[in-house]
C-alpha cells in the first residue's frame, strides 16, 4: 500500500474532525488567546469585542432588552421569509392564502403565530429597551447618535408592524389600516381649517402615496406588502448595523464610572522573592484608561452563554405562545361594512384616543413633537450625570416617581373630565375649526408635561432631572392612553368599563 493511499485513508477517517477544524480555524479555546481568537476569527461573533465589561453582563443592568428585541427580529425574519412562500398579495387571494397557511401548509399555522406574537413582542421590547437606555442615562455623550439611530429604529419597527397589519386582508386588518391611513392624512384637517387644501395638501399626498387610491384596495395591499417585505426591512437592517457598530465604537455598553475602579488594595498577591515590572504594581487606572482589563472578562464563553440563554428564553416564550394562541383572523375584508369600533393596532390606540378629538394634533402633531423630542434628548441634556446608574441615582428615582404620579393624575383626570363633560365642540358649537384642530387634549398634555419638566429643571438645577421628568410623563401618558383606547373604548368610540358592556350588535 502506497504512503499516499495510507494518508488518504487516514484523512477519510479524520474527515469530520478536519472539517470542524477548517470551520473553527483554531483549536479549542483553552487559553485567553484562544478565547480571543474564537471571537475575532468568527464572522458571526466578531461583532462583539473580545473582552466584555462585567457591568454589561449584569442582568439587572441591561435586562437583556436589546437582545430580546434582536431575538424577536430574528424570529420575524425567518418566519416572514417562510410566510412569503405562500402569501399572495392581491385582495382576491390574500385572505385565502392565509387560510391555506393556517390549515394545510406544514407548520404554517405555527409560523404565522410566531410571526404575529414576535411582532407584538418586538414592539414591546423596543419600547422597554428605550426606557432602559433612557433611565440609565446611556444616551449621553458619546452615545448621542446611537440614541438617535435607536429612535429611528423605533419608528421603523412601528412602521413594519403597521404595514404587516394589512396583509391578512381580514376585517381587522382592513379597518385598522383605514384608521391608520386616515391618521396619516390628517394634515388635511389643518389645511382645510386654514382653507389652503386646494393649493397645498400634504395629507392627501401622504394618503395617495400610501394607498395609490382613495380607499384601501389592491394598490394599497401591494404597496404595504412591498414596504413590509423589502423597503422597511432593508432600512431596518441597515440601521441595526449602524446601531450595533456604534455600540462598540462608542466604547461598549454604558456603565457607571465606578465600574471602572480598580478594587482597593492589592489585586494579586505579591511573591516576596520575585521582582515585578511597573505595570504589575501600579495602582488605580491602567494605561488603557477607561477600559480597565481588571473588570472585563473574555467574551468567549461568558457573554455568549448569557446571550444564548436570553435568545433561547425568548424563543421558548414565543413557541409556547404560538402553540397555545392562534393569531387572529376575522372574516374577509369588506369595504361595505365598517368594523365598529374600528381600532388601529394596539400601539397606535393611544394616538387614536387623541385622534378622536382632532386628527391632526392627536395623530401627527403630538406624535411628531414626541418623536423629535426623543431624538433631541441627548443633544439638549449634556450633563454627564449618573451615566450607567438607574435613574442617575436616588434623586432621579424620586423625580421619576413624582413625574409618574403627576402624569397619571393629569392624564386620567383630564380624560375623565373629557369623557364626562365633552370637549370644546360640545361646549362651543360655533368654535373655529382651527382651534379644534390645534387644541387637543394631547396638546394640553404636551404643554403641561413641558411645564412640569421646566419646573423640575429649575428646582433641581439639572437638565438630566428635567429629561427624566419629561420622559416619564410622556411614557406614562402613552401607557394610560393606550390602555384606555384598548380596553375602555367601544362602538362609536364611546367609553365602556369593559367589553361585556358593549351593546350587542
Amino acid at each position: 500500500m502506497s504512503q499516499a493511499f495510507k494518508r488518504f485513508l487516514g484523512d477519510v477517517k479524520r474527515l469530520p474532525k478536519i472539517f470542524v477544524e477548517s470551520v473553527r480555524r483554531r483549536g479549542a479555546a483553552t487559553s485567553d488567546r484562544g478565547r480571543s481568537q474564537a471571537v475575532f476569527s468568527n464572522l458571526f461573533l466578531h461583532i462583539h469585542s473580545v473582552k466584555t465589561h462585567k457591568n454589561s453582563l449584569k442582568p439587572s443592568y441591561t435586562l437583556g432588552l436589546g437582545l430580546l428585541t434582536t431575538a424577536c427580529l430574528a424570529v420575524l425574519t425567518v418566519t416572514g421569509i417562510l410566510l412569503m412562500v405562500y402569501y399572495k398579495p392581491t385582495p382576491e387571494l390574500a385572505y385565502a392564502s392565509i387560510k391555506d397557511i393556517h390549515f394545510v401548509v406544514p407548520t404554517g399555522r405555527m409560523m404565522r403565530n410566531l410571526h404575529r406574537w414576535a411582532a407584538h413582542g418586538m414592539v414591546i421590547m423596543v419600547f422597554l429597551h428605550m426606557a432602559r437606555v433612557f433611565y440609565t442615562a446611556s444616551y449621553q455623550k458619546p452615545r448621542e447618535f446611537n440614541w438617535f439611530v435607536g429612535v429611528a429604529l423605533l419608528a421603523l419597527t412601528l412602521a413594519l408592524s403597521f404595514t404587516g397589519y394589512l396583509l391578512p386582508w381580514d376585517q381587522l386588518a382592513y379597518w385598522a389600516t383605514t384608521i391608520g391611513v386616515n391618521i396619516a392624512s390628517s394634515p388635511r384637517e389643518l389645511t382645510d381649517a386654514v382653507g389652503i387644501t386646494q393649493y397645498f395638501d400634504p395629507g392627501g399626498a401622504i394618503k395617495q402615496l400610501l394607498l395609490g387610491a382613495n380607499t384601501v384596495g389592491a394598490e394599497a395591499l401591494i404597496r404595504f406588502h412591498l414596504l413590509h417585505v423589502m423597503v422597511l426591512p432593508l432600512m431596518l437592517f441597515t440601521l441595526i448595523g449602524v446601531h450595533f457598530w456604534r455600540i462598540r465604537k462608542d466604547g461598549g455598553l454604558s456603565r457607571p464610572a465606578s465600574a471602572d475602579d480598580v478594587p482597593e488594595g492589592e489585586f494579586f498577591a505579591r511573591d516576596a522573592t520575585k521582582t515585578y515590572g511597573l505595570m504589575a504594581i501600579v495602582r488605580g487606572r491602567t494605561p488603557a484608561v477607561g477600559r480597565s482589563p481588571e473588570n472585563t472578562v473574555n467574551s468567549w464563553p461568558r457573554l455568549f452563554v448569557a446571550e444564548m440563554a436570553v435568545l433561547m428564553a425568548a424563543i421558548a416564550i414565543l413557541l409556547i405562545l404560538s402553540l397555545t394562541l392562534d393569531a387572529p383572523l376575522k372574516e374577509p375584508a369588506n369595504p361595505a361594512i365598517p368594523e365598529n369600533p374600528a381600532k388601529a393596532p394596539w400601539y397606535f390606540l393611544g394616538l387614536q384616543e387623541l385622534v378622536a378629538y382632532s386628527g391632526f394634533m392627536g395623530g401627527i402633531g403630538v406624535p411628531m413633537i414626541t418623536l423629535i423630542g426623543l431624538m433631541l434628548i441627548p443633544y439638549l441634556d449634556r450633563e454627564q450625570r449618573g451615566v450607567g446608574i438607574w435613574f442617575s441615582g436616588p434623586e432621579g428615582k424620586r423625580v421619576a416617581l413624582w413625574s409618574a404620579i403627576y402624569s397619571s393624575v393629569l392624564v386620567v383626570g383630564l380624560l375623565a373630565f373629557v369623557i364626562k363633560f365633552g370637549w370644546l365642540r360640545e361646549w362651543y358649537p360655533d368654535i373655529s375649526q382651527l382651534v379644534i384642530v390645534l387644541v387637543n387634549p394631547g396638546s394640553v398634555y404636551a404643554v403641561l408635561f413641558a411645564a412640569w419638566s421646566l419646573w423640575i429643571m429649575r428646582r433641581y438645577d439639572s437638565t438630566r432631572m428635567a429629561a427624566i421628568a419629561l420622559f416619564t410623563c410622556f411614557l406614562v401618558g402613552y401607557i394610560i392612553l393606550t390602555y384606555v383606547g384598548t380596553v375602555h373604548r367601544g362602538p362609536n368610540w364611546d367609553f365602556y368599563w369593559s367589553q361585556s358592556h358593549w351593546p350587542v350588535h
Binding site: A96, F103, P106, T107
Partner: protein, 450 residues
C-alpha cells in the same frame, strides 16, 4: 411540537385512520383489501375553478361517493339522495351547495356552527340547504326534483306581497331594504342582539319573519303570519337569492328555460300582481286594515268606493301613490310596474265593483272656508288629523289624495260615508246633519290642507 401536532394529533388524521379500518372491515374482494391497505393519510381536496372553491371537506367526509357506506357513521356516510348523480363532486365541489368554509381542515371551523368562528357562511342545515338549489335552478321547476321547501317559499313570496315594500331586480316598494343577493350577506352583516336561537343567518330570518319588531326594534314590517313550514320556505327562498356568475357550462337547463320565459314573459294577471305587490299591506282589500305601525290602510276593494271612482282614479292612485303615507308610487321609474300592469291591477280591483253610481254632489257657489275649518275641528279630527303625523285615518292633505279626489268625490264621501269602513255618513238625509252648504264649506277647507 408544531410538527408533532400536525402529523399525529389532527382531527382529520384520526378520521382517516378510522376510515381505513372501516374500509378494511368492509372489504370483501382481494382488490378491495388491497385498495383499503393503500388508503393514504393525506389532505384531500376538490378544486372547482368555475366556482372559485377549494373544498377540503372530503378530507374527513371520505365515503360520500362510496355506496358501501350508507350505514357508516358520520363523517364517512354516503351522500344522501340523488343529488350527487347530477352534481359530480369533481365538477361542483361541496361549498357551492352546502356553504361553509371549504379551506378549513377542522370540523369546528369548516362547518362554522360556532358563533365565535370568523367567516362569512356556515354550512346550511336541512331544509335551508335547499336554498342553494335556487341559486342555479328555477325555484319553481326544482320543487318536484328535491327542493319542495324552496318551491313553497317561492310561491309564498309571490302571494304574500313582499314586493310591496322590498325591491327585487328593480321592482318593488321602497319601504324595506332591497332583497337582491340577500343570501350573500354573511353572519357579520346581521345583528343578533335579539335573536334567541342560534346566532346564524337562517335563525335570524326565521325569527325576523315571525316577529320583525322583536328582531329589529322599530321595524314597520308586518308579521307574515305563516306556519313554521311556510316561514322555513320563505327563509329558504330568501337565502337562495345569492349572486351567481355561472359560466355557461355550469348553467342548468331549467335556468335557461326560466330566462327564456322572462324574455317571452306571459303577462302576470291583475290578481297575481295584486298578491305580489299589494297584499302585504292591503291584505284581501275588502276591509280596512288597522296596522300597528303602518296606520290605517284603506280597503281598496270596498264596493262603496268602487261604485263612485273611475278606472283612471285607481290607475292614477297606484301610479303616483300617496307620497306622505306608506303607499309608494308604483310607476315604472319608482316601484317598477309597467303601465299595463297598473291597469290590470285596477281592473282586478274593479272586479269587486257591484254598481256604478253617478256623483250627485255639487259645490255651492261661495263656500266658507272658515266655517269648513270649524266643522272639521268639531266633527272630523277624532280620526283625521290636521297634520300628516296623525295616523288614525288618511291624512287629507296628502298630494296624492288632493290630486285624485275631485270636489264632488270628497263631498259625496262626506255625505254618503263609505259602507263597511269607519267613515260614517254626515250628510242630511244620510243619517247625518250637515247640509249641502256645510259640506261645501268642509270640502273647501280640505282643499286648503297641505
Amino acid at each position: 411540537m408544531a410538527a408533532a401536532r400536525e402529523n399525529y394529533f389532527t382531527e382529520w388524521r384520526s378520521y382517516q385512520r378510522q376510515y381505513r379500518e372501516l374500509l378494511l372491515a368492509k372489504a370483501e374482494t382481494e382488490a378491495e383489501v388491497k385498495s383499503a391497505r393503500g388508503f393514504g393519510i393525506e389532505i384531500r381536496q376538490i378544486v372547482v375553478s368555475d366556482l372559485g372553491a377549494v373544498d377540503r371537506c372530503v378530507t374527513c367526509h371520505l365515503g360520500l361517493d362510496d355506496p358501501r357506506m350508507t350505514d357508516a357513521p358520520q363523517p364517512f356516510r354516503t351522500h344522501s339522495g340523488p343529488a350527487l348523480a347530477h352534481h359530480e363532486m369533481e365538477r361542483f365541489g361541496c361549498t357551492g351547495c352546502h356553504l361553509g368554509q371549504g379551506r378549513a381542515t377542522s370540523a369546528r371551523e369548516a362547518h362554522g356552527w360556532d358563533a365565535e368562528a370568523f367567516w362569512e357562511h356556515s354550512v346550511l342545515p336541512d331544509p335551508f340547504h335547499q336554498a342553494s338549489c335556487g341559486v342555479c335552478h328555477d325555484p319553481e321547476a326544482i320543487g318536484s326534483r328535491g327542493a319542495p321547501v324552496l318551491a313553497e317559499g317561492f310561491g309564498l313570496f309571490r302571494t304574500e306581497g313582499c314586493l310591496g315594500c322590498h325591491k327585487l331586480g328593480g321592482r318593488g316598494g321602497p319601504l324595506g331594504p332591497a332583497l337582491d343577493e340577500i343570501g350573500d350577506r354573511g353572519r357579520h352583516s346581521y345583528s343578533f342582539a335579539h335573536i334567541e336561537g342560534d346566532k346564524q343567518v337562517w335563525s335570524w330570518h326565521v325569527e325576523h319573519l315571525v316577529s320583525p319588531e322583536t328582531v329589529i326594534p322599530g321595524s314597520k314590517m308586518p308579521e307574515v303570519g305563516l306556519d313554521e313550514s311556510g316561514v322555513h320556505g320563505l327563509v329558504t327562498y330568501l337565502l337562495s337569492l345569492r349572486s351567481s356568475n355561472l359560466t355557461e357550462r355550469m348553467t342548468p337547463r331549467d335556468r335557461y328555460e326560466q330566462r327564456y320565459q322572462v324574455w317571452h314573459t306571459r303577462p302576470l294577471s291583475g290578481e297575481e300582481l295584486y298578491r305580489q305587490f299589494c297584499f302585504a299591506c292591503h291584505e284581501e282589500g275588502t276591509e280596512t286594515v288597522l296596522h300597528d305601525t303602518l296606520g290605517t290602510i284603506p280597503s281598496v276593494r270596498n264596493h262603496d268606493l268602487l261604485a263612485v271612482v273611475s278606472r283612471e282614479f285607481l290607475v292614477e292612485s297606484i301610479h303616483d301613490g300617496r307620497p306622505t303615507t306608506f303607499m309608494p308610487a308604483w310607476a315604472s321609474a319608482a316601484g317598477g310596474l309597467e303601465d299595463g300592469e297598473i291597469g290590470r291591477i285596477a281592473d282586478y280591483l274593479l272586479e269587486s265593483r257591484r254598481e256604478i253610481r253617478e256623483l250627485e254632489f255639487v259645490m255651492s257657489a261661495a263656500p266658507d272656508v272658515a266655517n269648513g275649518e270649524r266643522i272639521f275641528n268639531a266633527e272630523c279630527t277624532d280620526c283625521h288629523a290636521l297634520t300628516r303625523d296623525g295616523v288614525e285615518a288618511p291624512w287629507l292633505g296628502d298630494p296624492g289624495f288632493q290630486a285624485t279626489y275631485s270636489d264632488a268625490l270628497i263631498g259625496h264621501t262626506i255625505q254618503y260615508g263609505r259602507e263597511d269602513t269607519l267613515m260614517i255618513p254626515y250628510g242630511v238625509g244620510y243619517d247625518g246633519d250637515l247640509t249641502d252648504a256645510e259640506v261645501s264649506d268642509l270640502v273647501a277647507f280640505i282643499r286648503t290642507m297641505r
